[in-house]
């Protein structure tokens, strides 16, 4: 198309005020750009008419989007299950390192060499003390090996049937999450040596046929589960 309509070129690239009309309508212009558009609107009737078209479009776009569904409530549970699984596979999140180093650097640069020397002596003492404490902590942990997830609290572990499962190596996180949700299973702990995860497979203790049926359902998911072993019920 070409030609002139109401004093405006039909198909040319837009003038700057016209190009900015959508952002003028949504209030997302800088003060300078807003003034530019308002000056143009003041002297241009066709531009004012086009602004009403923009406002119509904006209203209908909002109406259309608002008519779309909102996320189902279960979506957040699925997300948190994915996060649990991700954290279980990536237990260390070194998040404080950078900030701590920045703080340390800033603090040390502000003290005198004399103060720094005394501080170093005190720090050496603290390090020795910490080493002793850490040794004790490691020794205690050694008595109860295994990685704890945020959701694990062995002292208040609920009754139910538990199992150790290993997943096929190429299965993406999303499928594992869906698999767990489909089977009403919950990730408890892992990864353990051998790539096993401890999962809760039922809220009640299972044995005999009930346990075998449950395990068979898991084993049937051959594309996801490489091995599943029942855990002996706790007394």
């Amino acid at each position: 198309m070409s030609g002139i309509k109401n004093g405006h070129p039909d198909d040319a690239e837009p003038s700057l005020p016209e190009a900015l009309l959508p952002w003028y309508a949504t209030g997302r212009l800088s003060p300078e750009e807003k003034t530019l558009v308002e000056n143009a609107l003041a002297s241009d009737e066709e531009l004012r008419r086009r602004l009403t078209l923009v406002e119509e479009e904006a209203a209908d776009t909002i109406g259309l989007n608002e008519s779309l569904r909102t996320p189902p409530a279960v979506a957040m549970d699925r997300l948190m299950a994915k996060i649990d699984l991700y954290d279980a596979q990536h237990p260390k999140r070194a998040v404080f390192g950078g900030k701590a180093m920045a703080w340390l650097s800033e603090t040390l640069s502000a003290v005198s060499p004399h103060t720094l020397a005394w501080s170093a002596t005190a720090a050496a003492f603290v390090i020795c003390l910490e080493a002793g404490l850490l040794t004790r902590l490691i020794a205690e942990r050694h008595e109860a090996p295994g990685f704890k997830t945020a959701s694990l609290n062995t002292q208040t572990e609920s009754p139910g049937a538990y199992a150790l499962v290993s997943f096929v190596g190429t299965v993406p996180l999303r499928e594992i999450t869906t698999f767990l949700l489909d089977h009403h299973a919950v990730l408890i702990e892992g990864p353990k040596p051998g790539g096993f995860y401890r999962i809760k497979i039922a809220d009640e203790n299972l044995s005999g046929d009930a346990l075998n049926t449950k395990l068979a359902a898991f084993r049937a998911e051959k594309a996801i589960v490489s091995m599943i072993l029942p855990e002996a019920p706790k007394p």
Binding site: K5, D10, P14, R49, E57, A58, G63, N65
Partner: protein, 196 residues
Amino acid sequence: MAWQKPVTGLSGESSDEDLVKRIAAGDRQAMQVLYTRHSTRVFRFLQRMVRSETKAEDLMSDVFLDVWQQAGRFEGRASVTTWVLSIARFKALSSFRQKQHEELDADAEAAIEDDADNPEIILQKTGKANALQRCLMELPATHREVIDLVYYHERSVEETSTILGIPENTVKTRMFHARKRLSELLKQAGIDRGWP
């Protein structure tokens, strides 16, 4: 308007940026608050891109898992909303690639539009009142996303440029052409707006 205002959570009304800092430190409650605040917009943005609620839900979950994983690297150059929408768009495009579909470029537009009614049928089905909304649905993907980002998600020129990865001047001209295409669809449906 479209956006949920910040909700009260944690210790009072936290900004998105504060929440992301807490998420970077592994704070799950902050993650839930950020999710509550942004999930609807992300879900709708994805629905408009992939045209499937199920797919949009899967992708949304991936988007927020990325937020959890990448929060420590968020530098605050763009707003959290812009950052999250950028991730959402990337996830949607990646899903197209996984399905060996073409990217949301002009070549893909025709394929995406194939299942759509033509404008005359749109008008017969919906009447004039809803014709504009129906035509908005039939826009090519590249036009749909820029219109949604500007009108519904209320992104500025700069923010839209960041999300789409194109220069700001291109954002302005793309928006102009998207609007023009919308008017043309309406004209085909029998509604002449006198422009273009």
